[in-house]
Symmetry: none
Subunit: 295 residues, 2 copies
Amino acid sequence: MPQRDPLREQIIAQYDAMSPQLQQAARYVLEHPDEVALVSMRELARHAAVQPATMTRLAKFLGKQGYDDIREHYVAALRRGSDGFAAKVRQRNEGARASANGNIAAHMLHGLSAQITRLCEPDSLQRLEAIANTLKSARKVYVLGLRSCHSVAWHFHYVMSLLGDRSVHLDGPAGTGGDALIRATPEDALLVVSVKPYAVATLELTQLAKDKGLTILSITDSEVSPLVGMSKQTIFCPTESDSFFHTLTPALAISEVLCTLLAEDDRSQALDALQRADEHFLSLNTYASAIPRRE
Amino acid sequence: MPQRDPLREQIIAQYDAMSPQLQQAARYVLEHPDEVALVSMRELARHAAVQPATMTRLAKFLGKQGYDDIREHYVAALRRGSDGFAAKVRQRNEGARASANGNIAAHMLHGLSAQITRLCEPDSLQRLEAIANTLKSARKVYVLGLRSCHSVAWHFHYVMSLLGDRSVHLDGPAGTGGDALIRATPEDALLVVSVKPYAVATLELTQLAKDKGLTILSITDSEVSPLVGMSKQTIFCPTESDSFFHTLTPALAISEVLCTLLAEDDRSQALDALQRADEHFLSLNTYASAIPRRE
DNA sequence: ACACAAATGATTCAAATGTTGCAACCACAA
DNA sequence: TTGTGGTTGCAACATTTGAATCATTTGTGT
């Protein structure tokens, strides 16, 4: 929204002077300006995981007389945006720059967006669910992804490690990455991520795991990927982009969806685990400020 | 507004069957759909010069259970018009949670897709290009991203390392991650990735780099992120998802776009570098088969 | 003209909203 | 340790909201 918004700027300017709770409220307002106009204050507070009173206090802090002043502002902004022609101009800009101008960035982003949308096809969803179900029942989940796929593998492992200790990342210095498989059993699963060109080491480790009786699940890029034959279940991620490189964004999206499905399987336990993680990080002073969780 | 609006059409269809007062209410609703979402029923009735009860009766007449059904409809329409993504995320929270797993995945993927689409706004594109330009002229590019942001930072570094030796990843075992900054100079740039909650170590290292005169560029999640004040240029990535966790998919998309912009800046050199990398990997037998590159 | 049903207006009610005051709770200095 | 100033959660408050109820008016058919 390139439109000048004095209240927004005021909030940003005074943000650093706010107390933690006020910051949390302010942040939510900044990120969801429309909500301010569309829902009640109490509901807004609920979404922002803040006491209703905090919203009032935020208003006072900003020098307003009450919360309604804030809402009035965003209602006015929304009125202007919806029936005014600002929206139309904006849309035209988007369309024009995306297609005509040959803008590389916009073009690429649109492509990525489309690729992720395509993952919503029934076949993909089914595969996602199937993999998630298998992962649920595994004793340990080993995660393998080398080279470009390291980012996906690691992210999956990182999130899973917040939820429990079932995840083991097959990576390490000095070529010790596969060592963790020493203690692997047939009750375990291996989630392997690899896209073309397929790293030899990935395939070898996967074969080893398969020989040890692990259930192999894979995120890969093609029906003819060497992983398909080794895996019990596979989910395909598009990797084509209009740059020199293939993209891993859809693969990352897939891994995030898998994490979510696993967490959603037992909400309360997931919440507990996250709670514990929060406390741990808090006592370690890992993060700059308290970690707020929604709901 | 070329969008199909079933409720609007229903009102029009049943308009002739309404009593005069109902017609007056309905007419006002038709002509001021935004007001329905933005003001209370009583105020709407006042503007329409109708009794409050009439609005309730209009709702019942249309087969709805109450006036809130009507308001919900127009709120949703307004959300879609101004900010397509928030609606999708919110829908799940409000809608019955009874839906099966398939829906969670599909829903989440749609949300991610929308978030990436949103990065095509002119403001974001401008920021992307600005950061890419700064990166181009840097002597070295240090890349920093800890914890959840490691995946993004590493992926950026990995791709950049295929293109040349300007990229230095600030990470390493035994807490030596920041050591590479020892040789940093003011001609260098630091690309730092961090989203809430912001890792203290990231902020400290960034501050150190800034003190050493490096140009700070950041990928972060909010206007009020602590990185904003430290950075010369910033690009914002949405991180909200309808799961417990933040999503990093948009951040990864951003980093891939940056890589592409950098590579595209000098196509021939990029192709050369990739060619050389291919030969290297070939001689090392890193990949399972010859590495095909398009174009 | 009358009767009668539909439509309208006024009144009332329970639930919610935004606000306020108070008490507990920190972090931190004396 | 004990204050102390600021922050936060809680509960009570007066208002307002949307809906339900009842009385009145209106229009219509015989």
